[in-house]
Amino acid sequence: MSALAGSALRPERRPFKNGLVLLHNRAAANPSVVLRALVRAGSSREMPDEHGIASLTGRMLRQGTEHIGKVALAEELDGMGAGLSVDVGYALVSVSIKCLSGDFSRAAEILSEVLRRPTFPADELERLRGQVLTDLKEMDDNTRVVCERTWRELAYPETHPYHRLTVGNAETVQAATQDQLRAFHSAWYGPNQTTLMVVGDVLLDDALAAAERTFGDWSRVRVERVEASIPPTDPPGRQVREVDMVGKTQADIAIGLPTLDRASPDYYALSFANHILGRMYFMGRFGEKVRDEQGLAYYAYSELHGGFGRGAWQVRAGVNPRNLDKALGSIDTELKRFLADGPTPEEQADGVSSLLGSLPRQLETNEGAAAVMGEIELYDLGLDYLERFPDIVRSLSREQVTETARRWIDAERLVTSIAGPPRTA
C-alpha cells in the first residue's frame, strides 16, 4: 500500500503455510525494532473453572523453555538490552520484544522459543503463584481496579468472559496446575492463532527469513475464531453499586454499558461520539464540565472498547466522596444533552480534523505503528485502511453520530460502580 500522507506506515502482509501471518513495517528513524506476536489465547478461551489460567500461561512463557532456562534467558535479554513483555487480554496474548535492530535475528529466535516451547517448571509456577497472590491483594486495595471489577460484574453476565478481570482470583490462582497450563498452551498457542508483527529498522526480506526460520515449522492447533469465544449479551438494566474501601481518600467512578463490537457498521459513528464526549480537546465534554468548569475531579473522560463482542463504553472519573453526587449528576446531564442535541457543528469539524491530524503522531513510534497494524489485522480492516480512514471519518454526519449514540447508549440503563472511602468519612 502507499503510505498515508505524513505517516511512516507501509505495512506488508505475508501469510505462511502453517497459518501464521507476518505483518512488517520498515521505519529506520530509530535503530530499534518491535517484534510482537498477537496470539488469540486470551482469557476468553478459558473454561468456566479456569479463570486466570490464560494469564498464568502467558506469564509463565518466560520462566523456562526447552532450550533456555529462566535465568539464562534473563541474562541474554539484558545483555542485548532487549525488553520482553507479556500482556494477557480477553481475546489476545501480546508477547513483545523490543530490541536494537542488530539483535533482531536472535530476538526472533527467543520470541519463537518462549511462544512454542515453554516448559512451565513446577518451582517457577510456585514462585509466580505467590507473586500473583500478592498482586491480587494489591488489586483488592486499588480503587481503580475494584471499580472496574465491580462494573464488569454488574455489566456482563457471569458466563461472559468480560464479567471478570483476566488475572483470575485467589482461589483459581491457588488451584492452578502445571497440567492446566500445558493443556491451555497446547490448545491455543499455534501459528494459525498468531499474528507476528515486525516493526522498525529491519528489511522485509530479513523479517521474512527470520519468521520462516523460527516459526515456519510450528504445527497448527485447532482452528476456532476468537469471536466464537465471546458470546452475545444484552446490556443489563440500570444498576448502581458502591464499594467502601477503608483508608482511601478518593472515589473512582465507572459509568457505562456494553455496546458494540469493532466489526459493527456503527463502530465509527459511536467512536466519534465518544471522541467528542470524553477525549477531544482535554478529556472531551466530560473533562470540560467535571474538571474545568466545576473543579470536581483531576480526571473525567470516556472510552470505547470496541473489541470482539459487546465492548464496554465507560465514563471514568476520580472524585472526592463529598463531590460524588455532583459529579454523577454532571456526567448524567452532559450525556443526556449530547444524546438530545448531538455534537455542535464546531465539535463535528474539530472531531474530524483532530482525528485525521493526529495520525502521523500516533504512527511516529514503532509501538504506535504496531498497535494500528494489529487492529487492521485482527478486525480484517484491509491494508488500505489508513487510506480509507479519512473518507470514513469525513463521511460521518452530525445526525448519524447523534443517532448512533442514541441507539447504543441508553442513559436510563447505565451501569454505575463506585469504589472509594465510605461516604460518611
Binding site: 505524513g6 505517516s7 511512516a8 528513524a29 530509530n30 535503530p31 530499534s32 535465568v71 534473563a74 535479554l77 539484558d78 545483555g79 542485548m80 538490552g81 532487549a82 525488553g83 520482553l84 513483555s85 536494537l100 514462585r127 505467590g130 507473586q131 497472590l133 500478592t134 491483594k137 494489591e138 483488592d140 486495595d141 480503587t143 477503608v246 483508608g247 482511601k248 478518593q250 477531544m280 480537546y281 482535554f282 470540560e288 474545568d292 468548569e293 466545576q294 473543579g295 470536581l296 475531579a297 483531576y298 480526571y299 476520580g318 472524585v319 472526592n320 474539530d350 480534523s353 483532530s354 482525528l355 485525521l356 491530524g357 493526529s358 502521523p360 503522531r361 511516529e364 513510534t365 472509594g420
Partner: protein, 435 residues
C-alpha cells in the same frame, strides 16, 4: 543579529532578553515537538505555599491575552496535536507535539503564556479542587504515603523534602495572589528555555522565534537557592501505619547531583541493582532487568513481588532509592536485610566484567529507545540542559555511562550508600498482613 553556536546534534542561541533556544532538525516525519522549560519547581518553594509551582502550571492552560480559557487545548487538538505539562522538583515544562505546518501556533501559545497568563480568581478557585483531587488520587496508593514520609525526613533544610504536589493544608490556604506572585517571579524569558525538535529549517524558525518572543522584556533574575543541606550524621527511620494490602519498604540515600562526576557511576550502580531505564528521557522497553541483583534476590528469592532501584538526575543532590513491595507474609526486616546484603556485595566485591557489560548494554539500548520521536528528543535536550546545565549532555552523559568501570561502581556504592546516609521507610498495613 542572532548568534548561533552549533553542535553536531542541535543548535542553541540566546535572545537578547535571555530566552535560551535549542533547535534540532529531524525531518523523518512532518511533526514538531515543542518544549518550554522554566527553572522553577518544588525546590523553589517554601512551607505554607508548597505545591504552588504545580498549581501555577495548571493555571497556564486557563487563558492569557491571545488565548482565552480552553482555547489552547482546542487549538492544538483540532489540528491533531497533543499537549501537556508537568512540574517536577527542579522545573516546570510545557509541550506541544503537532504537525510541522502548525508550528506558529505553538510559538504563539508559549509566547502568550510566558507573561500574559491572567490567573482569574474564579479560575484559580475552581482549580484548587482539581489539584487537591490530583493529590487525593495519589493518596489512594500506599507507596505515595511512604515516599512522602521518607522524603520529609531525608532533608532537614533543602526544599526537596517538601515534594511537588504539596500538603492539603497548603493547597487549601493558598490564594490567587500567591499564585500570581509566583508566576510573575519565575515566568520570564531569562528563566526559560525553548526546545524544538522536528521538521523545520532552523534559520527560518529562529526568525519566527525572534519575532514572537523578542518583544518580551527580561525580568529580575529569580532568587537563587541559598540553602545548603548539612551532611546527615546517622540513619533516619520512619514507619507509616495505614490500611493497606501488604508491607512496602523503601531505602534511600543521599546521592550526587546530575552535574557531579559521580552521577554516571550512580546510574550504572542503580541499573546493576534494579535494571536499566533511560536516565535522560521517558520511555524505553519494558521487561528488562530480570538478571539484576535485586530482582534475583528479592523476586526470585520470594521476598518481594516487585522491586526497583532509582537514581534521578537533579540540580541539587537528591536520593538514590530502593523500593520493594513485599510478598504476603514477608516481614519488612527480612526485605531490608536482603536489600542491604546486595548493596554490601557491591561495596565489597564490585561488579564482574560480564555483568557490567550487560548493564551498559541495557543502558545504551534504553537510551536509544527513549529517543524515538520528536517529543522524546525535545524532552532529553531540555531536561539535560536544565539538570546538567548543558544541552550537549543529552549525548555526552550516555557516553559517560559507557566509560564507567567496576571500580567506579564500587567506589560510589561505598561513598554514598553508607549506614550513616541511610533513610529507611516501612509501610506497615495496620489492618493485618504479616508482622
Amino acid at each position: 543579529m542572532l548568534s548561533v553556536s552549533a553542535s553536531a546534534s542541535f543548535q542553541q542561541t540566546t535572545l537578547d532578553n535571555g530566552l535560551r533556544v535549542i533547535l534540532r532538525e529531524v525531518r523523518e516525519r512532518p511533526l514538531v515537538g515543542v518544549w518550554m522549560w522554566y527553572r522553577v519547581g518544588g525546590r523553589n518553594e517554601l512551607p505554607g505555599t508548597t505545591g504552588i509551582s504545580h498549581w501555577v502550571e495548571h493555571m497556564l492552560f486557563k487563558g492569557g491575552k491571545r488565548f482565552g480559557k480552553g482555547e489552547i487545548t482546542k487549538e492544538i487538538s483540532r489540528r491533531g496535536g497533543a499537549l501537556n505539562a508537568f512540574t517536577w522538583i527542579d522545573c516546570t515544562a510545557y509541550f506541544e507535539t503537532l504537525p510541522a505546518a502548525e508550528v506558529d501556533l505553538a510559538l504563539a501559545i508559549e509566547s502568550d503564556r510566558i507573561y500574559d497568563t491572567r490567573i482569574e480568581p474564579e479560575e484559580a478557585e475552581a482549580e484548587r479542587t482539581v489539584v487537591i483531587s490530583e493529590r487525593e488520587g495519589s493518596e489512594n496508593y500506599p507507596e505515595f504515603w511512604l515516599r512522602e514520609e521518607v522524603q520529609s525526613i531525608a532533608w532537614r533544610e533543602h526544599p526537596y523534602r517538601l515534594g511537588v504536589i504539596g500538603p492539603k493544608s497548603d493547597l487549601r490556604a493558598m490564594t490567587r495572589e500567591h499564585l500570581y506572585d509566583h508566576y510573575k517571579r519565575y515566568y520570564m524569558t531569562n528563566n526559560a528555555t525553548l526546545v524544538m525538535v522536528g521538521d523545520f529549517s532552523s534559520a527560518e524558525l529562529l526568525h519566527k522565534i525572534h519575532a514572537e518572543f523578542g518583544q518580551h522584556p527580561s525580568g529580575p533574575t529569580p532568587p537563587a537557592l541559598q540553602i545548603e543541606e548539612q551532611p546527615q550524621t546517622g540513619e533516619r527511620r520512619v514507619t507509616v501505619r495505614r490500611p493497606g494490602p501488604t508491607h512496602y519498604v523503601m531505602l534511600a540515600y543521599h546521592a550526587p547531583e546530575a552535574s557531579h562526576a559521580d552521577a554516571a557511576p550512580m546510574v550504572v550502580l542503580s541499573s546493576v541493582l534494579g535494571g536499566a531505564s533511560s536516565p535522560i528521557a521517558w520511555g524505553g522497553a519494558r521487561g528488562l532487568g530480570r538478571s539484576s541483583r535485586l530482582y534475583r534476590a528479592l523476586i526470585d528469592g520470594e521476598v518481594a513481588s516487585s522491586v526497583s532501584a532509582s537514581f534521578e538526575l537533579t540540580l541539587d543532590p537528591y536520593l538514590f532509592a530502593v523500593d520493594a513491595t513485599l510478598r504476603n507474609g514477608v516481614a519488612p526486616a527480612r526485605a531490608e536485610e536482603a536489600i542491604l546484603a546486595q548493596l554490601k556485595r557491591i561495596q565489597t566485591e564490585g561488579v564482574p566484567d560480564d555483568e557490567l557489560a550487560r548493564t551498559k548494554r541495557q543502558l545504551h539500548a534504553q537510551v536509544v529507545y527513549s529517543l524515538e520521536g520528536v517529543t522524546n528528543q525535545g524532552f532529553a535536550l531540555g531536561f539535560m540542559d536544565l539538570v546538567a546545565r548543558n544541552a550537549a549532555a543529552w549525548q555526552t552523559f550516555p557516553e559517560a555511562l559507557q566509560r564507567v568501570t567496576s571500580e567506579d561502581v564500587q567506589r560510589v556504592a561505598t561513598t554514598y550508600l553508607g549506614e550513616q546516609q541511610q533513610i529507611t521507610g516501612w509501610f506497615v498495613p495496620h489492618n493485618g498482613a504479616a508482622s
